[in-house]
């Protein structure tokens, strides 16, 4: 049943871009990219229970790795390799404070890291070109298939999203996923059952951050121009919103959350100047009445008669 539902979801995802203008296709691509970053954060926060306000920094590291390499003529896959390895390693290191502090204290540690990365991107002009940003980021040609056109690049993003989703699906259903859940629900009990909470905490940060890096590598050729403010705190908060609104700890949460964050404001544009107000009211009502997000609400409704 679930597989059938997933297949039914794939039909509009593959058919819709053919009926959209370039801006619509751009938004769908952005949804796919942000979903990947939110999947990473969902792993760290939703499954393993480690709050992070640093996901934008990892998207930034990935985007700059992609932009710097591809504008120098390196293929995009090399950027994927570099960004994944770099973000995994940095994410692992960022996990160490989580071994000592939790909750809002950890949020501030990760927030500081996010600010640090932003300052590096802005100030280290020799590497990042600072506030002038990097332009002319090329879109890749994959096995002879040029992704220059918006619709082609959208399908490229969708393909990467599918691969990331499959890998994450495998991970969360494996004993690792169970250990992450145990870490979130009761770390002391988990440790008493042999779960190496230290290693799983670091791994949750590392894998989640690596996915942020992969999203960044895709983001750079999508917008073709990047500059530091795109990866400031605002994006981290937006990614956090995606995870919470979709349903933290639900596999499909980031997909829904990213749709709400990326697509809903655009759908509300019919209300002209009111669209951001309507969007804010929607999020406030949802969080007030269903803090477990849209999928949490769906689960409550499903269990309602019981």
């Amino acid at each position: 049943m679930k597989r059938l539902l997933l297949l039914l979801l794939l039909i509009p995802l593959t058919a819709t871009p053919f009926f959209l203008k370039p801006y619509g296709i751009y938004l769908l691509s952005l949804w796919a990219v942000m979903t990947i970053a939110a999947i990473g954060l969902n792993l760290t926060l939703g499954y393993a229970g480690q709050i992070s306000l640093a996901q934008a920094a990892f998207v930034g590291i990935g985007a700059y790795a992609g932009a710097l390499l591809t504008t120098q003529g390196w293929p995009l896959w090399s950027a994927f390799l570099l960004a994944t390895a770099l973000c995994f390693a940095v994410g692992w290191l960022l996990g160490y404070p989580a071994l000592r502090v939790q909750h809002h204290y950890l949020a501030f540690v990760t927030l500081s890291f996010s600010t640090l990365v932003f300052l590096i991107l802005r100030n280290e002009e020799w590497l990042t070109k600072g506030v002038y940003g990097i332009s002319g980021i090329p879109r890749p040609t994959v096995l002879g298939w040029s992704t220059k056109a918006p619709v082609d690049f959208y399908f490229f993003c969708l393909g990467i999203l599918a691969l990331v989703s499959l890998a994450t699906w495998w991970l969360v259903r494996s004993p690792w996923g169970r250990a992450f859940t145990a870490l979130r629900e009761n770390a002391i009990r988990a440790a008493s059952l042999g779960v190496d909470t230290r290693r799983y905490t670091l791994m949750a940060f590392a894998v989640g951050s690596a996915l942020g890096g992969i999203a960044g590598v895709l983001y750079a050729p999508l917008v073709q121009f990047i500059e530091p403010t795109a990866f400031a705190l605002n994006l981290s908060l937006n990614l956090l919103l995606m995870v919470i609104v979709g349903g933290s700890g639900y596999f499909l949460g980031p997909f829904l959350g990213a749709a709400v964050s990326v697509l809903l404001p655009e759908w509300l544009r019919f209300s002209e100047g009111l669209y951001l107000i309507l969007y804010a009211v929607f999020v406030m009502i949802l969080m007030a009445f269903c803090p477990s997000g849209l999928l949490g609400l769906a689960e409550r409704l499903r269990r309602f008669p019981r």
Binding site: R178, T181, A182, E185, G194
Partner: protein, 247 residues
């Protein structure tokens, strides 16, 4: 019989308050040792010092002659030491079966092999047997958070046995469990002790449960051992009556 657990001069102070004060005892293989005493006598602190949850201020703990003082709880578990906590500690979002699989999975292969291997870490059948053994079959697919307190307590105890431990420290297993369920729990513990030769240390306030289950009893008061012996001996000890059991 050889000592599985040796505790020597163990002490734990919180600021100026001495919770455990130079406690020494041995636990022999296959024994069911009861640890009783009034609230605040240091029983749970003693457990937490033995099991690495708290760093002792002084003293030493040995398992099979090997020093384990200050070892991490997860490493101690992998040495074959299980435990339960005073307050319920199940994972409410996981099903009963998943709770049990989790309780054994970290003993199976390496971390990497668990990522690429079977989803149940090869523990599905063992979890089902444990579910049957603890009479939880009807609840196997239910989320642990939806179980009654007594059922969660049974699950909590069952989890401590999933990895086939040699030594299990049970902190108030009878607390909040109804008499029928308690009789069942006692039978399960006796059976595991007899069949698997598992050794237990049990903290409990339910005297009937302690006296009928344990082979030896230690009495703790103000962080020190004040009496030790067979259940009947301890029950009639005037110091124990004065400090804990009452007239």
């Amino acid at each position: 019989m050889s000592a599985v657990l040796e505790v020597r001069d163990l002490a734990k102070a919180f600021g100026g308050i001495s919770a455990v004060n130079g406690v020494s005892f041995d636990v022999r293989e296959g024994e069911i040792l009861g640890l009783i005493g009034p609230n605040g006598s240091g029983k749970s602190t003693l457990f937490n010092c033995i099991l690495g949850q708290l760093a002792p201020s002084a003293g030493e703990v040995r398992i099979d002659g090997r020093a384990i003082t200050r070892m991490r709880p997860c490493d101690l578990n992998r040495l074959g030491i299980g435990r339960t906590f005073q307050l319920l500690q199940v994972f409410p979002q996981l099903t009963v079966r998943e709770n049990l699989i989790l309780a054994g999975q970290e003993h199976r292969g390496s971390m990497w092999s668990r990522l690429v291997g079977r989803r149940d870490a090869g523990l599905g059948a063992a979890a089902d047997r444990m579910i049957e053994f603890f009479r939880l079959a009807a609840l196997a697919a239910e989320k642990a958070g939806s179980l009654s307190y007594g059922q969660q307590k049974l699950l909590d105890v069952a989890m401590a046995f999933m990895a086939g431990p040699r030594l299990v420290l049970l902190d108030e297993p009878a607390g909040g469990v109804n008499p029928t369920m308690l009789a069942g729990l006692r039978e399960r513990l006796r059976e595991i002790n007899a069949v698997d030769r598992a050794t237990f240390v049990v903290i409990e306030h339910n005297m009937e449960f302690v006296m009928s289950l344990c082979t030896r009893v230690l009495v703790l008061a103000e962080g020190r051992i004040i009496a030790e012996g067979a259940p009947a001996e301890v029950r009639s000890n005037p110091r124990v009556i004065e400090a804990y059991l009452g007239g």
